[in-house]
Protein backbone atom coordinates (compact mmCIF):
# COMPACT_ATOMS: atom_id res chain seq x y z
CA UNK A 1 0.00 0.00 0.00
CA UNK A 2 1.23 3.48 -0.82
CA UNK A 3 1.34 5.79 2.14
CA UNK A 4 -1.50 8.27 2.61
CA UNK A 5 -0.54 11.91 2.99
CA UNK A 6 -2.77 14.57 4.47
CA UNK A 7 -2.09 18.29 4.78
CA UNK A 8 -3.90 20.86 6.90
CA UNK A 9 -3.59 24.62 7.26
CA UNK A 10 -4.55 25.53 10.80
CA UNK A 11 -5.93 29.07 11.11
CA UNK A 12 -4.70 30.92 14.16
CA UNK A 13 -7.63 33.23 14.67
CA UNK A 14 -10.48 30.80 15.15
CA UNK A 15 -10.49 28.93 18.44
CA UNK A 16 -13.88 27.39 17.75
CA UNK A 17 -12.52 25.57 14.70
CA UNK A 18 -9.35 24.37 16.41
CA UNK A 19 -9.25 20.59 16.33
CA UNK A 20 -10.89 20.24 12.92
CA UNK A 21 -7.69 18.75 11.43
CA UNK A 22 -7.35 16.22 14.27
CA UNK A 23 -10.98 15.32 13.84
CA UNK A 24 -10.44 14.67 10.12
CA UNK A 25 -7.38 12.50 10.76
CA UNK A 26 -9.36 10.50 13.30
CA UNK A 27 -12.11 9.92 10.74
CA UNK A 28 -9.56 8.77 8.14
CA UNK A 29 -7.90 6.34 10.57
CA UNK A 30 -11.28 4.88 11.52
CA UNK A 31 -12.10 4.29 7.87
CA UNK A 32 -8.75 2.55 7.42
CA UNK A 33 -9.61 0.18 10.28
CA UNK A 34 -6.74 1.27 12.53
CA UNK A 35 -7.09 -0.01 16.12
CA UNK A 36 -9.00 2.26 18.53
CA UNK A 37 -6.06 2.64 20.94
CA UNK A 38 -3.72 3.80 18.16
CA UNK A 39 -6.38 6.18 16.87
CA UNK A 40 -6.82 7.64 20.35
CA UNK A 41 -3.10 8.16 20.83
CA UNK A 42 -2.78 9.89 17.45
CA UNK A 43 -5.90 11.98 18.05
CA UNK A 44 -4.91 13.22 21.48
CA UNK A 45 -1.32 14.03 20.49
CA UNK A 46 -2.34 15.86 17.33
CA UNK A 47 -5.21 17.69 19.00
CA UNK A 48 -2.94 18.95 21.78
CA UNK A 49 -0.49 20.15 19.14
CA UNK A 50 -3.21 21.77 17.08
CA UNK A 51 -4.60 23.58 20.13
CA UNK A 52 -1.09 24.77 21.04
CA UNK A 53 -0.67 26.16 17.54
CA UNK A 54 -3.85 28.19 17.84
CA UNK A 55 -3.25 29.35 21.41
CA UNK A 56 0.43 30.21 21.21
CA UNK A 57 1.54 30.52 17.61
CA UNK A 58 -1.17 32.13 15.48
CA UNK A 59 -1.78 28.90 13.59
CA UNK A 60 0.46 26.78 11.39
CA UNK A 61 0.31 23.69 9.27
CA UNK A 62 0.17 19.96 9.85
CA UNK A 63 1.34 17.13 7.62
CA UNK A 64 0.29 13.58 8.37
CA UNK A 65 1.61 10.46 6.69
CA UNK A 66 0.00 7.09 7.27
CA UNK A 67 2.12 4.10 6.27
CA UNK A 68 1.73 0.39 6.95
CA UNK A 69 3.96 0.64 10.00
CA UNK A 70 3.37 4.06 11.52
CA UNK A 71 1.62 7.39 11.55
CA UNK A 72 3.90 10.39 11.24
CA UNK A 73 2.73 13.89 12.17
CA UNK A 74 4.69 17.07 11.55
CA UNK A 75 3.24 20.20 13.14
CA UNK A 76 5.00 23.40 12.17
CA UNK A 77 4.34 26.99 13.16
CA UNK A 78 6.05 30.32 12.81
CA UNK A 79 5.06 31.52 16.25
CA UNK A 80 7.19 32.94 19.05
CA UNK A 81 9.03 29.69 19.79
CA UNK A 82 9.53 28.21 23.26
CA UNK A 83 12.00 30.10 25.44
CA UNK A 84 12.51 27.34 28.02
CA UNK A 85 11.85 23.92 26.57
CA UNK A 86 12.82 22.08 29.74
CA UNK A 87 10.13 23.92 31.70
CA UNK A 88 7.58 23.55 28.90
CA UNK A 89 7.99 19.79 29.08
CA UNK A 90 7.10 19.74 32.78
CA UNK A 91 3.53 18.83 33.70
CA UNK A 92 1.72 21.84 35.09
CA UNK A 93 3.99 24.53 33.63
CA UNK A 94 2.12 26.86 31.30
CA UNK A 95 2.60 30.26 29.71
CA UNK A 96 -1.00 30.41 28.50
CA UNK A 97 -2.83 33.62 29.42
CA UNK A 98 -5.94 33.70 31.63
CA UNK A 99 -8.32 34.05 28.70
CA UNK A 100 -7.07 30.69 27.39
CA UNK A 101 -7.54 29.07 30.79
CA UNK A 102 -11.13 30.29 30.74
CA UNK A 103 -11.52 28.27 27.55
CA UNK A 104 -10.37 25.10 29.30
CA UNK A 105 -6.75 24.95 28.17
CA UNK A 106 -3.40 26.04 29.49
CA UNK A 107 -3.05 23.57 32.36
CA UNK A 108 0.51 22.84 31.33
CA UNK A 109 -0.29 19.34 30.11
CA UNK A 110 0.06 19.88 26.35
CA UNK A 111 3.64 18.91 25.53
CA UNK A 112 3.93 16.24 28.27
CA UNK A 113 0.71 14.70 26.99
CA UNK A 114 1.94 14.72 23.40
CA UNK A 115 5.10 12.93 24.47
CA UNK A 116 3.13 10.43 26.54
CA UNK A 117 0.85 9.41 23.68
CA UNK A 118 3.50 9.09 20.95
CA UNK A 119 6.23 6.51 20.30
CA UNK A 120 8.61 9.09 18.93
CA UNK A 121 8.68 12.75 19.91
CA UNK A 122 11.06 15.41 18.66
CA UNK A 123 10.74 19.15 19.00
CA UNK A 124 12.68 21.93 17.31
CA UNK A 125 12.06 25.43 18.53
CA UNK A 126 13.71 28.79 18.18
CA UNK A 127 12.59 32.00 19.83
CA UNK A 128 11.22 34.38 17.22
CA UNK A 129 11.23 31.73 14.49
CA UNK A 130 8.73 29.06 15.50
CA UNK A 131 8.30 25.48 16.61
CA UNK A 132 8.10 22.18 14.79
CA UNK A 133 6.97 18.91 16.35
CA UNK A 134 7.89 15.57 14.76
CA UNK A 135 5.64 12.85 16.13
CA UNK A 136 5.30 9.18 15.38
CA UNK A 137 2.84 6.56 16.57
CA UNK A 138 3.53 2.93 15.67
CA UNK A 139 0.74 0.79 14.31
CA UNK A 140 0.23 -2.29 16.43
Amino acid sequence: MDSIKLHYDVPGDDFTRAGAASSDVKRNLKQLGVSPSVIRNVSIAMYEGEINMVIHAGGGNIDVEITEEEIIMILADEGPGIANLELAMKEGYSTAPDNIRCLGFGAGMGLPNIKKYTDDFKIETEVGKGTTLYLKVNLE
Binding site: F15, A18, S22, R40, S43, I44, Y47, A107, M109
Partner: protein, 116 residues
Protein backbone atom coordinates in the same frame (compact mmCIF):
# COMPACT_ATOMS: atom_id res chain seq x y z
CA UNK B 1 -23.85 2.01 34.50
CA UNK B 2 -25.98 3.04 31.55
CA UNK B 3 -26.27 6.65 30.43
CA UNK B 4 -29.98 6.50 31.27
CA UNK B 5 -28.96 5.70 34.89
CA UNK B 6 -26.78 8.81 34.95
CA UNK B 7 -29.73 10.82 33.71
CA UNK B 8 -31.92 9.47 36.51
CA UNK B 9 -29.35 9.88 39.28
CA UNK B 10 -28.62 13.50 38.32
CA UNK B 11 -32.20 14.38 37.44
CA UNK B 12 -30.70 15.53 34.15
CA UNK B 13 -32.35 16.77 30.99
CA UNK B 14 -31.48 15.19 27.65
CA UNK B 15 -30.15 17.72 25.16
CA UNK B 16 -29.40 15.37 22.27
CA UNK B 17 -29.06 11.78 21.09
CA UNK B 18 -31.70 10.14 23.26
CA UNK B 19 -31.14 6.84 21.43
CA UNK B 20 -27.72 6.63 23.08
CA UNK B 21 -29.17 6.31 26.62
CA UNK B 22 -28.78 2.53 26.64
CA UNK B 23 -25.00 2.77 26.21
CA UNK B 24 -22.75 1.62 29.02
CA UNK B 25 -20.33 3.97 30.77
CA UNK B 26 -17.60 2.52 33.01
CA UNK B 27 -15.80 5.59 34.33
CA UNK B 28 -16.24 9.36 34.55
CA UNK B 29 -14.06 12.44 34.58
CA UNK B 30 -15.15 15.79 36.02
CA UNK B 31 -13.23 18.90 35.00
CA UNK B 32 -13.53 22.37 33.51
CA UNK B 33 -9.97 22.05 32.18
CA UNK B 34 -9.92 20.15 28.91
CA UNK B 35 -6.13 19.84 29.23
CA UNK B 36 -6.67 17.67 32.29
CA UNK B 37 -9.32 15.61 30.57
CA UNK B 38 -6.88 14.86 27.75
CA UNK B 39 -4.49 13.36 30.29
CA UNK B 40 -7.21 10.89 31.28
CA UNK B 41 -7.57 7.78 29.15
CA UNK B 42 -10.25 5.27 29.93
CA UNK B 43 -12.62 3.25 27.84
CA UNK B 44 -16.23 4.38 27.62
CA UNK B 45 -16.01 7.29 30.01
CA UNK B 46 -18.42 10.14 30.62
CA UNK B 47 -17.32 13.76 30.91
CA UNK B 48 -18.81 16.12 33.50
CA UNK B 49 -18.02 19.79 32.93
CA UNK B 50 -19.22 23.31 33.50
CA UNK B 51 -17.28 24.59 30.50
CA UNK B 52 -19.29 25.55 27.43
CA UNK B 53 -17.41 25.84 24.16
CA UNK B 54 -16.91 23.62 21.08
CA UNK B 55 -13.61 22.30 22.41
CA UNK B 56 -15.56 20.34 25.03
CA UNK B 57 -17.07 18.28 22.20
CA UNK B 58 -13.70 18.02 20.42
CA UNK B 59 -12.03 16.82 23.60
CA UNK B 60 -14.71 14.20 24.19
CA UNK B 61 -14.36 13.13 20.57
CA UNK B 62 -10.60 12.63 20.86
CA UNK B 63 -11.10 10.63 24.05
CA UNK B 64 -13.85 8.43 22.54
CA UNK B 65 -16.30 9.67 25.16
CA UNK B 66 -19.96 9.17 24.28
CA UNK B 67 -21.59 11.24 26.99
CA UNK B 68 -21.12 14.86 28.11
CA UNK B 69 -22.91 16.08 31.21
CA UNK B 70 -23.09 19.84 31.74
CA UNK B 71 -23.29 20.76 35.43
CA UNK B 72 -24.34 23.95 37.27
CA UNK B 73 -27.23 24.47 34.85
CA UNK B 74 -24.88 25.24 31.95
CA UNK B 75 -26.33 24.64 28.51
CA UNK B 76 -24.44 23.91 25.28
CA UNK B 77 -24.77 26.23 22.28
CA UNK B 78 -26.51 25.10 19.13
CA UNK B 79 -23.22 24.57 17.24
CA UNK B 80 -22.03 22.28 20.05
CA UNK B 81 -25.25 20.28 19.94
CA UNK B 82 -24.88 19.83 16.19
CA UNK B 83 -21.29 18.65 16.66
CA UNK B 84 -22.40 16.16 19.33
CA UNK B 85 -25.20 14.83 17.11
CA UNK B 86 -22.71 14.30 14.27
CA UNK B 87 -20.54 12.27 16.65
CA UNK B 88 -23.34 10.20 18.24
CA UNK B 89 -22.71 11.73 21.66
CA UNK B 90 -25.36 12.05 24.32
CA UNK B 91 -25.55 15.46 25.99
CA UNK B 92 -27.20 15.89 29.38
CA UNK B 93 -27.72 18.97 31.55
CA UNK B 94 -28.13 19.06 35.31
CA UNK B 95 -28.59 21.93 37.74
CA UNK B 96 -26.37 20.14 40.26
CA UNK B 97 -22.92 21.53 41.03
CA UNK B 98 -19.88 19.57 39.90
CA UNK B 99 -19.03 18.22 43.35
CA UNK B 100 -22.56 17.01 44.03
CA UNK B 101 -23.02 15.50 40.57
CA UNK B 102 -19.71 13.60 40.80
CA UNK B 103 -20.51 12.50 44.36
CA UNK B 104 -23.89 11.09 43.40
CA UNK B 105 -22.44 9.13 40.47
CA UNK B 106 -19.55 7.85 42.56
CA UNK B 107 -21.92 6.74 45.32
CA UNK B 108 -23.93 4.88 42.70
CA UNK B 109 -20.85 2.91 41.65
CA UNK B 110 -19.29 4.88 38.81
CA UNK B 111 -15.52 5.06 39.21
CA UNK B 112 -12.91 7.68 38.39
CA UNK B 113 -10.03 7.50 35.94
CA UNK B 114 -7.83 5.22 37.98
CA UNK B 115 -10.73 2.80 38.35
CA UNK B 116 -10.78 3.43 42.13
Amino acid sequence: MKIKDIKEILGAEIICNEEGLEREVYTACGSDMMSDVLAFVKEQAALLTGLVNPQVVRTAEMMDMHCIIFVRGKRPHLDMIEMAEDRDMVMLCTDLEMFTACGKLYAAGLKGGSGK
